[in-house]
Symmetry: D2
Subunit: 259 residues, 4 copies
């Protein structure tokens, strides 16, 4: 399927590893020039190198925390007129509600809500003027099914969900779409880390910890990052301009609700 985005330019926040990286792969494969971003110089360099080697597109890298103004500046210096933007960032660790203080909540809101919105503010007018834009946020299945241990995650993310939905109504007439992907349990470094953590906490083997992760997924397996990347690529397609304001769950069919 031709996605009709060859020659487009994309900025992908937090894309040097994991799901963000998979998104970069999927659209680079479709001929999109990409600016990747990550917190560590090594990861970014590796991503730039590998993407450049595999695909015939321009690839640049920006090192730093994707929620900061400085990194936004650098990203837009590298690509002043992005057609495609991936909003992504590291999520917080689980924490019981009773232990969350105002500072922790503020930090998480800066990371997952204010930072992304400030970046959207800078790219949205240009997308509307140019008559094409695809903004996709990596959210979490928990925005529809909140887990009480993850208030620092789903609180800010639900806030973002609402603001993006509101904005989407205003810009779709310019062929600018805003959608979210809601992953649950993809086989990335994060799930491997969590398995290691659970292994130690519960005194079980790594395989048992991995089996526990799978047990909550109706598909009977973790998701593959390339599946996530291709869903992102589809939302970015030229022919996806009539699809906006959606929250697409990539969760192995695990969500219980009808809508």
């Amino acid at each position: 399927m031709d996605l009709g985005i060859r020659g487009r330019r994309a900025i992908l926040l937090a894309s040097s590893r994991g799901l963000g990286r998979a998104c970069a792969e999927s659209i680079a494969r479709e001929g999109v020039d990409v600016v990747v971003n990550g917190r560590t110089a090594d990861d970014v360099a590796t991503a730039v190198e590998e993407l450049s080697a595999r695909y015939d597109v321009q690839v640049e890298g920006v090192v730093g925390d994707s929620s900061t103004v400085e990194v936004h500046d650098a990203l837009l210096a590298a690509c002043p007129e992005p057609d495609i933007v991936l909003l992504n960032g590291e999520g917080p660790s689980p924490m019981p509600f009773g232990r969350i203080d105002a500072a922790a909540m503020e930090a998480s809101l800066q990371q997952s809500l204010i930072g992304p919105l400030m970046f959207v503010q800078r790219v949205l007018p240009g997308m509307c003027d140019r008559g094409f834009g695809r903004i996709v946020a990596v959210s979490s299945a928990m925005v529809k099914s909140p887990n009480p241990m993850m208030s620092l995650s789903h609180g800010p993310r639900l806030g973002l969900t609402g603001v993006l939905k509101g904005l989407s109504k205003d810009v779709v007439r310019h062929d600018v779409t805003i959608n979210q992907l809601l992953p649950e349990r993809f086989d990335t470094g994060r799930q491997q880390q969590m398995a290691n953590l659970v292994m130690k906490l519960k005194g079980i083997t790594y395989d048992e910890a991995r089996a526990e992760q799978v047990a909550s997924i109706k598909a009977g397996r973790l998701g593959r990052p390339d599946e996530f990347g291709d869903a992102f690529a589809f939302l970015c397609a030229a022919q996806s301009g009539y699809l906006s304001g959606q929250n697409l769950q990539l969760d192995g069919g695990s969500y219980e609700g009808v809508f």
Copy 2:
């Protein structure tokens, strides 16, 4: 993007024209053998001829009402082991609630709920046994935003939505997904018919009637059938096996709700 479905076989209910036909085009283009279906022999013959001419796949046609056992028999005779099924069918006309009698509701339930479910019953076990299946139902934006003039449509369709969602939970572990597409106002013969109807009822021009249709769509235009077809194709992709139980709105971003 390679959807990984070359050589798969599909049965598409009510696919000789409109959105169903667009779905057939999109997967035939990806190398899927298709059985198309429609109520009139001419439409089916034309669809078979055009699809065969354009794509290097097997194309067969079955004439008849897609909600009947006889047509189900004929479809399965033409393709006993479908990998992909499109559930689609003609919708009822608007009718004020007060004028709906039990017979009208029964007919609509047979058409839009019982018929499709009886067909799903016949294909689902085989899909699970073979370890691959993609079932997609063409529903309506109204299943999330019911219009009181369309009870005959959204009543049965919401019933189907619920049953399919329940089933999806049981089969996703076999790489069998069940999703729905919720269109609103695509530029098919149906919208042209409705524009003609409104033109006469209101004494306005055809262009004015078309403008009214567009006015309710935030994208400022009607959807194009090929956009619908490609969304269907994406849901059928090999790499969409982690995406199930979803109701994807293709409505030009018009739905007001967050979820």
Copy 3:
């Protein structure tokens, strides 16, 4: 709290026992004349007797299946101008999807969708003319979280949910509201029956079977029918005229989703 409905008249379908009976109790206590209904003459006679003894209101009984025209006729003969209507009826037994045939689905649709809608059709115009009406349907938590064993239940019920929602939009300006209550696991005869069934199937004790029922409820207990009845009474209150088109879950806080 004064609900402002003293002297109002209500028809309650399937109200001789269980949740329907609890609804009758709660509004009779508030001074509403009630027509109760049930399938067996004994149950209806008992309900009429007990309600009459406890509350200073008119109580009448109609025996028969609440989804039939004959019973609708009898109910409206007993109360030609109801202000309040409870839609309720017996639900189907669990059945694997593969074993459902068209006849079983038709019977369930008649019982849980067509029957209730035909009754709504008869009472709604009068409510609108008189400028007051409260229609409440007893639905099920499963309309938001479908269980694949219960397609015969949530299919028809979701259809009803959609049609009632659509209708609610048209009539709320006449102070006629239409809402649904979505119970999960109330301590009625039905749960006791199911515990007996599970006890035999699994070879466990009755207490163990009851504990299993409770295990799925976040409140750690079953609901009490009087809690259900009082929620119904609140929806019927004069001061609830601004509350319509809602699906209120009474499930011990068990639903996982945000909305």
Copy 4:
């Protein structure tokens, strides 16, 4: 209907006027001791005086911004063990997304998300220990239907919605419920202010501005604060312990969606 809360104690944030005040009235009438709160000393004094005169309950007042630690301290000094808590606060003014800066978003998050959560943190453990609690947040219809001019409102409010839903799952087993009320267009000072604003902006009369407010409400009228207060009282009832995690829309039936 006896709500079973006579003798209970409540803290109501932002309750000296408008919807918060109506909530105080409804539960004081049911015999609940109340601590009211508002930003101006006059309003609080008036509320205390009027509530004390009308109802035979203890009434205290705390002046100040309900999102601050100082006010939380004062509220808990006045009522160390509240059984009932109303989360409420002033909402932000409309603002186009492009004009929102990080400071504005931070201020709104402090007001509508962090402040309320910090207060919940202080009252929730005690409610669980004592085995009874009713927390109700005044949210907004926009958390389900975001308006792009109101990002400062629905962003923080949706964040709160998610965190409260998550928490509700953990505490309902202690007979502690957490619910939200989602009002749209109640006849309070705020709507009168907005009508005055629109009157000037559009050069229309006050009555025309009021008619515009009503035009968006399917009930054909604004809501009455006492209707809101009584819905709050019902959620606080002893017999509402099985009803938790819900978002009850009080919007004159205006929301278009099924769920």
